[in-house]
Structures are given as structure tokens and as C-alpha cells.
């Protein structure tokens, strides 16, 4: 009987959990040339982009007020392709459009901006072959994505009086081309009036980088930031090897990590495994691998370590004992005796003792 009379309360709760909140999806595409060169037989960047655009469209089709952002991380640096900070609308109109005019407008605006800017970005990489460093800028792109997410989340909350009016001003000034920097400005501007903590967000990282030379500390900081704003980081890893840091990122933020064996079927994976919205995540079993390698990286050499030393003051991780006996991060002196102990070569247990132990028993009658 209790179960029946409680219905009024229960029903309200279930209604709450199924709510279709708008969500923000940020896609980070790693376009470091080296890694894609290794994949050239399997898939090209063009094909990946195609799949990603369809993926973005699908996300936009979920809800009228859904938003997307697209960031490339290239050796030259990370850059927002959509929403683009500098948007030459006049130029855009003169250029031949890359996307068919028949596409649903909301999709077309995004797809066109992404394609055009991606082209110029690739062009840039081609032109200055030598000036870039080989270090991955994914960590930077990740923090850009997080700052953007955070901004969108706060924009959406009650601090609207000033920001809201600012946005409205910008939308009014550019209402003839609201494809501009504020995203789908009409919808988003107004939807932020009432919804409180409603907007959900997630980040998808698409990377083919096998070198695993990500900077450990920035990545970890991004992970903590993502946890704080409750954003999941999903990772689609192409290429031969798993990336342990990205694995950790998705594991710590309740994201999906998948290493895609056959990149040709990317769209199928994107539209299924990577399509679990944050609002329905509690209902689904995430198709992620539980075998996460929680490796950290050495603060001195920058290489990842499986077994190392930890500073007892600041928890800094080292693969070797610093020669000056000081922690490289917090500069505190290590105890000389302990260092000596650690440095001592492993001693072989003397045989004698063992013998004594083994000969002891036969005293029994």
C-alpha cells in the first residue's frame, strides 16, 4: 500500500531525472601531422572530419538549444574553429561555400566554419614545416575547452544581468549574421534567462598521437578542473597505442575511452558509444575499458614512470634521486640517511641465516 500512496512523490522524481537539458559538446581534434601520417593507410584527416561533422550535427539535432564548440590542437598551437573568435563574415559570403545550401541552417553554420578554418589551419602547418615544436599541445586545447565550458555554464546561471545584456547587445549589433562568435546566439541568449544549473557539458578528444609525450601536470590539472565543473572527457584514440594520460582523464571524469581499431567505422562508434549524453549517463553502462594505466610522469625527466620516488612534502614524483638531495619542486632537503638507504645496492640475503631456519625443525621426537 505504501508503494501506491507514495506515487505522487515518486512520479515527480522520475520526471526530473529524464529531463532533456541542453548540453554543450566540445570536440578537440589533434591534427599533429606525424601521427596522421602513420595512419595514412587507414584513414585521412578529411574522413575523420567528415565523421566529426556528422557527429556535431547529430548533437545539434538532439535539442534546439544544444551547443557545440570545435578546437584543433596542432603543433602550431590550439585554436577555436567554432565558435570562431574572429569571424570574417564579409569574406565568408564571397567565398564559395563548402557545404551544400540545402543543409539545415543550424548545422550548416557550424560545419562551414569548421571546414573553412580547418583548411586554413592545415595550410598553415604545410607552409611552415620547421618552425613548430614536436610537443603535443593537447593539454592546452583541453584547458581551452574547459575555460569555454566554464564560461558557458556560468553564462547560463543567474549571473545574467550584466553578461546577458552584453550578449544581447552583441546579438543585436550582428543580428544580420548571427552565425557570429556568440554561437547560435538567439537561442542561447534567451535560454539562459531561466535555466539554472541545467546545461550539461562534455568534451570529446580525438587523437591519433602515439608518442605519449603529453605534459603530465597540465593534463592532470585539466582533469581536476573537469571534475570540478562536472564535465566528462571522452576520448577516441586512433592509432596503435593507448594513451595512458588520456585514459586517466576519461576514467577520472566518468568519460568514455575507446581505442578505435578500425577508423573506417568511426562514425558508427561516434554515433553510439560516444553519443551518451551527460543527462542519461547514469542510466547507461559506459562502453569503456576498466584497464586503466595510472602511470604518472617524472617531474625531472618528463618521462612516464611505473615505479619511482615521491617527495614526502609535496608529493612530487621522480624516476631518479636528484643529485643535490633536494626536491626539484618544493626545494626541501631530503634526509641524507634515507637517500643513502635508497641508493644502497640491493643486498643479497646471507645464506647462513636461511640454513639456520631450515635446520631448526627436526628436533621433534
Amino acid at each position: 500500500m505504501d508503494a501506491i500512496s507514495d506515487n505522487v512523490f515518486n512520479d515527480l522524481d522520475t520526471v526530473e531525472t529524464v529531463s532533456d537539458d541542453p548540453s554543450l559538446l566540445t570536440v578537440i581534434l589533434d591534427i599533429s601531422p606525424g601521427s596522421w601520417f602513420q595512419l595514412r593507410d587507414q584513414i585521412s584527416i578529411v574522413e575523420v572530419t567528415k565523421s566529426l561533422l556528422v557527429f556535431l550535427n547529430a548533437h545539434l539535432s538532439l535539442n534546439n538549444s544544444n551547443q557545440v564548440a570545435f578546437i584543433v590542437s596542432s603543433p602550431v598551437g590550439s585554436k577555436f574553429l567554432y565558435p570562431s573568435p574572429v569571424h570574417g563574415t564579409e569574406e565568408q559570403r564571397n567565398k564559395p561555400t563548402l557545404i551544400t545550401m540545402n543543409m539545415y541552417r543550424q548545422f550548416r553554420v557550424v560545419d562551414e566554419a569548421v571546414l573553412q578554418d580547418l583548411n586554413t589551419e592545415l595550410e598553415q602547418i604545410r607552409n611552415n614545416k620547421k618552425s613548430y615544436s614536436a610537443v603535443s599541445t593537447l593539454a592546452g586545447a583541453l584547458s581551452m575547452a574547459l575555460t569555454y565550458t566554464h564560461r558557458m555554464l556560468t553564462l547560463d546561471q543567474s549571473i545574467r544581468t550584466t553578461t546577458q545584456s552584453a550578449i544581447n547587445n552583441t546579438t543585436n549589433s550582428q543580428h544580420h549574421h548571427n552565425s557570429g562568435g556568440t554561437g547560435n546566439s538567439n537561442g542561447s541568449g534567451h535560454s539562459s534567462q531561466l535555466s539554472s544549473t541545467n546545461v550539461k557539458s562534455r568534451i570529446l578528444v580525438v587523437s591519433a598521437d602515439d608518442t605519449d609525450d603529453l605534459k603530465y601536470i597540465p593534463i592532470m590539472n585539466s582533469i581536476f578542473a573537469a571534475q570540478k565543473i562536472k564535465t566528462s572527457i571522452d576520448v577516441a584514440k586512433l592509432g596503435a597505442k593507448n594513451s595512458s594520460y588520456l585514459q586517466q582523464a576519461s576514467d577520472a571524469t566518468n568519460g568514455v575511452y575507446l581505442k578505435i581499431e578500425d577508423p573506417k567505422g568511426l562514425i558508427q562508434v561516434l554515433s553510439s558509444a560516444f553519443f551518451i549524453e551527460p543527462s542519461v549517463r547514469p542510466l547507461f553502462i559506459l562502453p569503456t575499458n576498466s584497464n586503466v594505466n595510472y602511470r604518472a610522469s617524472c617531474f625531472v625527466t618528463g618521462k612516464s614512470v611505473d615505479l619511482g620516488y615521491v617527495c614526502s612534502i609535496c608529493l612530487c614524483i621522480m624516476s631518479l634521486i636528484p643529485t643535490d638531495g633536494k626536491c626539484p619542486t618544493c626545494d626541501s632537503n631530503f634526509d641524507a640517511r634515507i637517500i643513502a638507504q635508497l641508493k644502497r645496492a640491493p643486498a643479497v640475503v646471507p645464506k647462513k641465516r636461511r640454513k639456520v631456519v631450515s635446520t631448526a625443525p627436526p628436533i621433534t621426537p
Binding site: 522524481d13 539535432s61 534546439n64 540545402n102 534567451h190 534567462q193 551518451i276 549524453e277 543527462s279 549517463r281
Partner: protein
């Protein structure tokens, strides 16, 4: 709960009831596919997208692997609804499902952008001589819509809406009276409930009535629905050509103009503008809310304009949301719109009225009278929440932030865990409570007082041969969430009407002797 909620008959339910041939015809339009997809629940959307790019049929057991056990009920319910829409079809004797091929093709085309030219309306390329901007459209829409609402509450000095609107109101049971003369119509209980809804639900209610009418008017329902769905995907502030529309759609346009969904300067004008009411038709909750608030905002400002012009005087009311509720059940509403006051009067015992505000008290009697009129507690709470004063919202937000901070400070260790892995109780703890919880609970309790007896339609299973047989079926019914009551000793249980087929199927499979 479902039986008391009159306005939950959403467009999806209407679509479910259509015959399959019409549904399939509908899926031939990409814009309709997109709109229907948007109207589906989130989990259903996931199932559909996961099948869009997957050609082969998907086995049900594979689908089960996606869902956590506690979501199983919902999954089964969703699949049934999708089947009713014929979006998914059974193959291999029900062990596998596949997406409706027409829908799959058109939805995929829509995502990849290869659909035919006019799928999303035809934008006028030439500039309009008579400049029309968004604020004008908003004003137009609110003025039209407000006329209808004001007419319903019987505000004086308001011109009656057109006869087509009147007949819709009457047909929907929102107003009643002899003849079609506007003076004879009076608002019904259902009409009062209607007023409590957000404007999007209100529009859909009218549109669904309109759809029911189409059969009598010899209009093609597919044409009408397609046009409504296309409207939802048009862009605010852009004009579209009339010449590409079919004859049915042109006549529909005239009616939609009466509701304020589209703006057309004259009936013969070659272009039309969708208003915000139209462009938010197929979007979900938050966008709806924004639609209704922006509407409220305009309505309020418009009504203050009216008041000023009619010499009553009045201070411009706050932007949106104007109701403050205290924990002692006192209600203050900063409004002078007769519409809002009339609505409040449905469930608040109003005591004093000032130039720019009214105050009153939520009492057991006032709420009970509303409940007896068929308004549900849920509706009341929803209404109060959406119309809460911004200050209430700010306070609630602060409280929530404090709670979250307290939480994170107290379990620093678990803060390192994944955000989603927290238990359900934790999530409910962090809900934004705009209204004082005491008031919310009390309103629910007042409703419970009235619902001492609830009726459920269903089937009783009895006369089991063995205890084991009983337990197998009982457990199954519980697992799929259709069990309402069971008695172990007497070996009887009762399942809902919806669940009978599944339980009977299962019984036939598990207990071969029958």
C-alpha cells in the same frame, strides 16, 4: 497521475495514434524526421542515433547491454513507444529490431546535408520593403496570444479572438457555452488548468485540436503536420516564401497567423515570418521555458502598456517571474496584469491588492479548491517555479552553492572520484530548490489527502500451481516494473494494463504446461 493530467497528451502521443501509412508518409520529410527526433526522450534519441549508421538489425539482448539494471523499465517502455511510432520495426520474430528504413534514410540525409532543396523552408532572398525585426515579431506574437488568454479569463476591453480560435477553444473543452458568440463562452475547469501551462504546451494543445479538425476540413494531416514541423526548424527573423507551400499549407498559414505563430503582413503577401512561438515548437524544456518567459515578459510589458493607455496607471513590472513565496505560505506577486492575478486567484487566497502587487496566502482551502477543479499539485508547483521571482532564484542558487561547497569540503577524498558515480541520494540533495521545500511538500500532501483511493486498470494473476511458479512470474513483473501489488501467501499479484502482454508472454515461455 496520468489520468489527472489533461495536457500531457503531447504531439508524440498524437503521432503514435496515427495509422502506419500516415506515419511513414511523415517520415519522408527530413524536417519532420528531425522534429520528431527532437521530441523524443533522451534515451530514445540515443537508441536511434546508435542505429542510424548501423545497417544490420540490432538484437534486443545487445541493446540490453547498454542499460544499467535500474533503467531496464524505462528501456522497455521506450522501445514500446518507438514501436508505436513505427520508428523501429521488429525483425526475426521480435528478437532483433531495426530502424524504419524511410526514417533512417531521411534522418541520415538530414545529418549529412544531402536532402532535397526545400526541406527546411525557402528563405526569401530579396529584402522586405516593410522591415520586420525580431522585437516586432515578439510583440506581434505576444499580442495575438495574449488576446486569446485574456479572452479566456474574461478581461474586459479586449477584442475577441477570431472565430476559428473560438471554435478551437470550445472543441478542446477549454471554454463552453451556447453558440459561437464570444459573449456566451465561459471558461471551464480544463480551461483554468490550461492557463497554468507554459505557453508551449498551450500552443500544442490548440494545434492538436486543430489537427483533429483537419479530418473534417478535408485537409491532408501529413501536409499539416509537415508544415508545423518545418515551422519548428525555421529561423526567427528570417522571411520565407509562400509560393513553395501547398494549398493546404497556405490555408493553414492564415489560421496560424491568428494564433501568433507566423506573421504575414497581408493575406496575399508572398512571404511570411515565423515568430518565437513557432520556432520553439519542437525544442524541449529549457527552450520552452525561455519561450514562455520571454512571452510572459512581453505580455507583462504589453499589459502595462494597456493599463497606461486606459488610464489606470501602473508601474512597469519586473522583467519576468514575479512571485515570491515564503515558508509561511504567504505569496507576494509583483504584477498588475489581470491575467496573472486571475490565474493566481485559482489557488491563492488573495487578500490585498496594491498598485503593482498583490499578496495572499496559500491555504488548505484555496489549494484544495484548485485541486478539486482538476489542477494537480505538480502543475501548481511547476507554475510557481517557473514564475518565481528572480530573487527567489538567486537565493536558491546561493543555497545550492553552499551545499555543494559544504559537501566537497567534507569529503575531500571522494572529490577525486568521478562526478557521476555519486549515489542517487547525493544527486537529489543537490537539486535547486526554488520554492521553500515546506510549501512544496505541503501542496503534495494536500493532494494526497484527496487521493485516498487510487484506481489502476490491470489484471490479477491468481491460482498458481506452485509457489515457485508464482515467484518466477512475480519477480519478472517486478523487474519490468509493471507489478502493482502482490500477496505471497495467497499467491496472487496484480499487474498494470500495459504490462499484461509481456507478463503473459513470459508466462507462456517459462511455464510450458499452459
Amino acid at each position: 497521475m496520468s489520468s489527472t493530467n489533461l495536457f500531457k497528451t503531447t504531439v508524440i502521443q498524437h503521432l503514435e495514434e496515427l495509422p502506419q501509412t500516415i506515419q511513414t508518409k511523415l517520415y519522408e520529410a527530413p524536417a519532420t524526421c528531425l522534429s520528431i527526433f527532437r521530441l523524443l526522450p533522451a534515451v530514445a534519441k540515443f537508441f536511434i542515433t546508435s542505429m542510424v549508421f548501423y545497417e544490420r538489425p540490432v538484437s534486443l539482448s545487445q541493446l540490453d547491454k547498454w542499460c544499467k539494471p535500474h533503467a531496464r523499465n524505462r528501456q522497455i517502455e521506450l522501445l514500446q513507444r518507438l514501436k508505436a511510432l513505427h520508428l523501429i520495426l521488429d525483425v526475426n520474430n521480435g528478437s532483433h529490431i531495426t530502424l524504419n528504413p524511410t526514417f533512417r534514410k531521411n534522418f541520415r540525409d538530414c545529418l549529412t546535408g544531402v536532402q532535397s532543396v526545400n526541406a527546411f523552408g525557402n528563405i526569401c532572398t530579396t529584402p522586405d520593403k516593410h522591415h520586420v525585426d525580431v522585437s516586432f515579431l515578439d510583440k506581434f506574437a505576444s499580442q495575438k496570444w495574449e488576446t486569446i488568454l485574456h479572452f479566456m479569463v474574461g478581461t474586459e476591453l479586449v477584442a475577441a479572438p477570431s472565430s476559428s480560435v473560438l471554435s478551437l477553444l470550445k472543441l478542446g473543452g477549454l471554454m463552453e457555452g451556447p453558440g459561437n458568440s464570444p459573449k456566451n463562452l465561459a471558461i471551464t475547469n480544463k480551461g483554468f488548468q490550461f492557463l497554468l501551462q507554459d505557453s508551449n504546451t498551450q500552443i500544442w494543445t490548440l494545434l492538436l485540436q486543430y489537427l483533429n479538425l483537419t479530418k473534417d476540413l478535408n485537409m491532408d494531416p501529413v501536409d499539416v503536420l509537415n508544415f508545423i514541423f518545418i515551422l519548428g526548424s525555421l529561423e526567427l527573423g528570417k522571411s520565407y516564401t509562400v509560393s513553395h507551400l501547398s494549398a493546404t499549407q497556405v490555408s493553414l498559414l492564415a489560421d496560424l497567423k491568428d494564433y501568433g505563430l507566423v506573421y504575414q503582413r497581408t493575406d496575399s503577401s508572398s512571404r511570411f515570418y515565423p515568430t518565437r512561438l513557432a520556432t520553439t515548437l519542437t525544442s524541449e524544456s529549457s527552450a520552452l521555458k525561455s519561450a514562455s518567459t520571454s512571452m510572459d515578459q512581453v505580455i507583462e510589458s504589453a499589459s502595462t502598456d494597456n493599463d497606461l493607455s486606459s488610464g489606470q496607471g501602473g508601474v512597469a513590472s519586473s522583467t519576468h517571474g514575479s512571485i515570491i513565496i515564503e515558508t509561511n505560505f504567504k505569496v507576494y506577486a509583483y504584477t498588475n496584469s489581470p491575467l496573472e492575478i486571475a490565474v493566481l486567484n485559482l489557488f491563492v487566497h488573495l487578500k490585498t491588492r496594491f498598485a503593482n502587487m498583490v499578496c495572499g496566502q496559500l491555504t488548505r482551502e484555496s489549494v484544495r479548491s484548485a485541486l478539486q477543479n482538476g489542477i494537480t499539485a505538480e502543475q501548481l508547483i511547476k507554475f510557481l517555479e517557473t514564475h518565481a521571482h528572480p530573487q527567489m532564484r538567486v537565493l536558491a542558487k546561493e543555497k545550492l552553492d553552499k551545499k555543494i561547497e559544504f559537501d566537497t569540503n567534507n569529503n575531500i577524498n571522494t572529490a577525486g572520484g568521478a562526478p557521476g558515480t555519486k549515489s542517487d541520494s547525493n544527486i537529489t540533495q543537490h537539486k535547486l530548490e526554488i520554492l521553500p521545500p515546506t510549501v512544496v511538500d505541503q501542496i503534495k500532501l494536500w493532494q494526497l489527502e484527496l487521493d485516498r483511493i487510487q484506481t489502476f486498470e490491470g489484471y490479477l494473476f491468481k491460482d498458481f500451481v506452485s509457489q515457485q511458479e508464482f515467484e518466477v512470474l512475480n519477480k519478472y513483473a517486478m523487474d519490468i516494473g509493471v507489478l502493482l501489488w502482490s500477496d505471497k501467501i495467497k499467491k496472487r499479484f496484480f499487474v498494470t494494463k500495459k504490462g499484461i502482454d509481456q507478463v503473459a508472454d513470459y508466462a507462456n515461455r517459462k511455464i510450458p504446461s499452459r
